[in-house]
């Protein structure tokens, strides 16, 4: 099965700064997805990047994918206190597995 590993485990920044989270995986994928989870809630899908794409944007989110290094990064620009959450990557082939996530804290 395919599983992503997020790094760092925890990240604390000031409001307005950028936040970068990384994801590594081990085998070939069809796509890679990023999700957010606010405390006590279900995961929410943020963005999907296909294996033939290198970069994708959605609002303040920028995702990159390097299939040769089997890695992806999620950049949140101009962070806000409301971005405080856990972020998970999910590499997807025939199935999808979630890692332990990156816990992001944005201080006002």
């Amino acid at each position: 099965s395919q599983q992503g590993e997020e790094d760092p485990q925890a990240l604390s920044i000031q409001e307005g700064e950028n936040a970068t989270m990384n994801c590594s995986y081990k085998t070939s994928i069809n796509n890679l997805q990023w999700y957010r989870q606010n405390s006590g809630r279900g995961l929410v899908h943020l963005i999907l990047i296909r294996s033939n794409e290198r970069e994708k944007h959605s609002g303040r989110l920028r995702v990159t994918l390097d299939t040769s290094k089997k890695s992806s990064s999620l950049l949140i620009t101009a962070s806000r206190a409301a971005d405080t959450a856990s972020y998970f990557c999910a590499p997807s082939a025939n199935d999808m597995r979630f890692g332990a996530g990156t816990r992001l804290t944005v201080k006002p």
Binding site: N30, R41, G42, L43, H45, L48, D95, M96, A100
Partner: protein, 112 residues
Amino acid sequence: DAGITQSPRHKVTETGTPVTLRCHQTENHRYMYWYRQDPGHGLRLIHYSYGVKDTDKGEVSDGYSVSRSKTEDFLLTLESATSSQTSVYFCAISQGASYEQYFGPGTRLTVT
């Protein structure tokens, strides 16, 4: 939350009792999933379904069974609950195996 509900939302039960959690969707998605989430482990897949009466095991399926008799409902049963099954359980749906998943609000289960 994309037309997914879970019931109950909270449950406290005793060791050895059977427990059934229900996931209901109104999106007509083919795939449905059950995950558990524990501190330090992220989300772990218990079982999933790829159609009515079609189910398969995930990475932590021991002690759990599932059933899907209708497209909209996916049941998770703990035949004899143990304290190690205390967790938050999430249901998710998707149109296909590699498609984005939509999650329910979760069920907090405590086994005493």
